[in-house]
């Protein structure tokens, strides 16, 4: 896998490209997932707990003493509690920025951005084309039931013009993924 530095470089480059396309929203979507930590599965949270909790406890000098006594006196325990009051004892107390960095390292963030680009650019066209084929239609009309959204027509003719480009972009993004994963030259 390529280094964090390289991942950050590619992330910034892609963000810049998206900015020129007026699609900063895609970077924001990724940032939202990273910052809110609202899509993290339980096993990852558990990993975070295991990663940060021992560190936090070991960083306390009192904890070392705690380890020396198999059965600490209650008063000692009380002192320990007082002493470690400002130390993080659960992931909730750890700075969110630190957590985000751990849960979504540079490589992961870059992968999220590539996925967002794929979902926003080539995939709707590929899905649109698949829909036309599945229903054996040359056109599908999408009618808004309220005035809040616009109606539109998806036509085979329009989609065909872009389908090849969509698949090409999909392949380039796939190549970029492979490059990041393996850190090898692109074939």
């Amino acid at each position: 896998m390529i280094s964090d530095e390289e991942c950050n470089y590619i992330f910034d480059e892609l963000a810049h490209i998206l900015h020129t396309q007026q699609r900063d929203d895609l970077v924001k979507v990724v940032q939202e997932q990273i910052e809110r930590l609202d899509a993290v599965p339980a096993d990852k949270w558990n990993e975070v707990e295991e990663h940060f909790r021992p560190q936090a406890l070991l960083s306390s000098p009192k904890q070392e003493k705690f380890g020396m006594f198999q059965s600490p006196l209650p008063t000692f325990g009380y002192q320990l509690a007082e002493f470690t009051e400002k130390e993080p004892s659960s992931v909730e107390e750890i700075d969110r920025g630190v957590l985000s960095q751990y849960i979504y390292p540079a490589h992961e963030r870059l992968m999220l951005l590539i996925r967002a680009i794929e979902a926003a650019y080539p995939m709707p066209i590929i899905i649109g084309s698949a829909s036309l084929k599945l229903l054996d239609q040359s056109e599908i009309r999408f009618e808004s039931v309220s005035r809040m959204e616009e109606s539109f027509t998806l036509s085979q003719r329009e989609i065909q013009m872009q389908e090849q480009n969509a698949y090409q972009l999909h392949q380039i993004l796939e190549q970029l993924r492979q490059y990041i994963q393996r850190g090898e030259k692109i074939a």
């Binding site: 390289e6 899509a39 967002a116 650019y121 066209i125 698949a130 084929k133 599945l134 229903l135 056109e139």
Partner: protein
């Protein structure tokens, strides 16, 4: 940047920049438009797998059994079933199975309801044709000692599908909203179809409704995700064909 072949990387980034400019269908800049197309893609897969499971090839109608002509028309958003609407739906019959079953209808973006009788959106909904027929003919159903149903009863729904086309993993907020909605609907099957992995959301959904209620990374270039979704649909129709209910009279 020591290990990076910058020339090659820059060529790759240059290709992405050029390609982004070549891939632009204006309506797809709108997330909800992508979501609606994703619903119709899901409908297409569902119909194919219904046939693979034993249903007759689907027929398409709108309003009160008027045969749908080109182009098929689907809702952006949701509305109630009515005779007047011009939205396309599919009818599935089962004449060639061992014991003929009641016909089904498949709709995109309709309201159904559970015991509360409050409307709940179903993105791709498979329900008994007789239930859909009733709500095309009457605006409500009144039963003794029961609240008035203005929408098809979820107990007569074989499958209610929630399609989520997002650029990120589903947040806990979004999936909790879906779970709450599905909990309200006593449908035979619930399914969330999503284009991203959304592992956490998947665990929540599976925890509440079982593994059959979740299908992630379903899109045409992902053969594994698409096949899993197809298999799920096929199983649902197999179950319908082989259950001891819903026999055609």
């Amino acid at each position: 940047m020591s290990t990076v072949n910058t020339g090659e990387l820059n060529a790759l980034l240059g290709s992405i920049k050029t390609s982004l400019g070549n891939v632009s269908f204006p309506f797809f800049r709108n997330r909800s438009a992508c979501g609606t197309v994703y619903e119709v893609y899901t409908l297409g897969l569902l119909l194919e797998e219904a046939v693979n499971a034993g249903a007759d090839p689907p027929e398409f109608f709108y309003g009160r059994r008027q045969r749908a002509i080109q182009p098929y028309k689907f809702r952006r958003g949701a509305s109630r079933l009515s005779t007047a609407d011009e939205y396309t739906y599919a009818e599935l019959t089962f004449n060639n199975v061992r014991k003929p079953k009641l016909p089904l209808e498949v709709h995109v973006g309709i309201y159904i309801c559970g015991p509360s009788c409050e409307r709940v959106q179903s993105d791709v909904c498979v329900l008994l044709k007789e239930e859909a027929d009733y709500f095309r003919s009457y605006s409500s159903r009144v039963r003794r000692n029961q609240p008035i149903y203005y929408y098809p009863d979820a107990r007569r729904v074989i499958l209610t599908t929630e399609c989520k086309y997002y650029e990120r993993d589903l947040s806990s907020e979004v999936i909790h909203e879906v779970i709450g909605r599905d909990r309200e609907l006593p449908a035979a099957n619930h399914l969330v179809v999503v284009n991203t992995p959304s592992v956490s959301a998947g665990n929540r959904m599976i925890g509440c409704f079982g593994p059959g209620a979740w299908s992630s990374e379903a899109f045409p270039t992902n053969t594994i995700g698409e096949k899993a979704l197809r298999d799920r649909f096929k199983n649902i129709f197999h179950s319908y064909i082989n259950d001891f209910k819903h026999f055609a009279r």
